[in-house]
Amino acid sequence: MNLSDYTVTRTSPAARAAAALGAIVLIALIAAPWWAGRADMRLMSELFLYLALASLWNLMAGYAGLVSVGQQAYVGFGGYMLFALTIFGGLHPIAAIVVAGLLGALIAIPAAVLIFRLRGAYFAIGTWVVAEVFRLSFAQVSALGGGSGSSLPVGIVKSLASGRSARESLSYWLALGSAVLVIAAVYLFLRSRRGLALTAIRDNELAAGSLGIDIWRTKFAVYVVTAALTSLAGALIFLQKLRISPDAAFSVNDWTAFVIFIVVIGGIGTIEGPIIGTLIFFLLRETLADLGTIYLMVLGVVAIVVMLKAPKGVWGLIRARFDLQLFPLGYRVVRHISKKDT
């Protein structure tokens, strides 16, 4: 055996094909204002924001093992920051969205120090308590409408862009941009040295710690960055809605339960999972939403069946069968047959 016969590669034909296809789809999506209707664009915007939330929750729960049921804390916080910064701070909405993200990171630091003392189920409950504290706190702020909430003033909405269709296009692109930003950030992070450490933590904390990985610091960083991007997505969600109230902003159902459903159905602990899960979720919602409560029951049944029959989700099934990885994170050792006499 000669070591020089071996090389290490981080890509594959499937991944290159997926990247090319992804680029084409992305260009088509960027061009949506020219081919899609108003209602379709609204639906797609919502889909992109859910995709961003699901990818972030997956990074936390699927990789860092931080199973949070309190991410609505940051969705709501981001939404309220958008309203506060534009109404009282006089910021342009887009600047406010970015600042909301930064403030989300800032507020996540003390929250993390507090809830990182808890493990497993207690951690999950702790995150929910934090979200409830956020909800009750914002309900006290009478300048933001207290418990009944408030609407984004017309002047601020108009400052986004002149004309209704320009505003709608911009709002759509912002949603698409946030999903692309989040997926790209997650992908690049997981491919990096720190990302390798996080994947090791996902698989075995004891071994990770014994191989030089600072588990607490890695998880802390993931929590804070996730909070920042979730706040950013939250600000975008309420820029679409134009109205905010504590119950809508900090809804555990809308911003965490559905997001967990998406990740579990699609495949937890993979980048592809949340993408597939979001598509399935919206497909179910758009076809069954008229059925009212029955729709939620169907979601529940689907979740239970998938958890029992395919605990790694739809993407897990596909990967087990075809050994595919659309986002190449891994390493592959390739052996070349050395050419003799040349």
Partner: protein
């Protein structure tokens, strides 16, 4: 020679069970030290105390002249202490090569092509190169034990702690393992090896210590220790004064 590791009165108890009681000894740089003792004697706990997986109730661990007692396991590993686990702890969802890369990038702080090259070399040395792209979760027990050794070596340790890696091997596999460990030792790595397969151990180590009920009960030249009454009593149930 200077001491690379010094245990100073190390004690640890879980309730009434003392897994370490006033353990003190030194390991010289470049030495190969064997550790024997009955099951439950506290051998693995001693490793946990050295690597920082367990915090002692009393005593100090001094590595390379530095008191590391308060240091986390991760920091001690980066400082140069690597171990294999008795019960293999693979990163199951990652390939063998990726398992190795984690040690090379996180513990040895190697980057890019340098890390990849180092991992390939170690995999060749431990015989896992043909399995490089296999998911660690689907390896056999023997392969998992080799993966433990691979990962520890990829961390580029100064001090290597081996916890029962020869158990369950066939005679042929054992001979090749002994050769691998000898090569590692010859390259200048200090080794502490816990092993029940005594003939494999004796083929490598310069010195032996015996642990029972968390206490060091004997220490010295391997053959002499194996013939000592204390060891015979523990292993064969022969009374020391019989």
């Amino acid at each position: 020679m200077t001491a690379i590791l010094k245990l100073d009165g190390l004690s640890k108890a879980f309730g009434a069970v003392k897994v370490a009681e006033g353990q003190s000894y030194e390991v010289q740089e470049g030495e190969a030290l064997g550790v024997i003792g009955p099951n439950g004697a506290g051998k693995t706990s001693m490793f946990n105390l050295i690597t920082g997986t367990l915090a002692p109730d009393a005593g100090r661990v001094i590595f390379n002249g530095q008191d590391v007692t308060a240091m986390s396991a991760a920091k001690r590993c980066r400082a140069g202490i690597a171990r294999s686990f008795q019960v293999p702890q693979p990163f199951s969802g990652m390939t063998v090569f990726e398992n190795a890369m984690i040690a090379a990038t996180q513990a040895a702080d190697l980057r890019g092509a340098e890390a990849e090259r180092h991992c390939l070399q170690v995999l060749e040395q431990t015989g896992l190169l043909p399995k490089a792209n296999t998911l660690a979760g689907s390896l056999t027990l023997l392969e998992r034990k080799r993966l433990e050794l691979t990962r520890a070596l990829c961390a580029k340790p100064k001090l290597l702690l081996l916890d029962e890696i020869a158990g369950g091997l066939t005679e042929g596999e054992c001979v090749s393992l002994v050769q691998t460990i000898r090569d590692i030792h010859a390259s200048g790595v200090t080794i502490i090896w816990i092993e029940h397969v005594v003939h494999a151990l004796l083929a490598v180590v310069d010195r032996l210590i015996v642990i029972d009920f968390g206490k060091k009960i004997a220490e010295g030249e391997p053959r002499a220790i194996m013939d000592s009454p204390e060891v015979k009593e523990i292993y064969l149930g022969i009374e020391a004064d019989a």
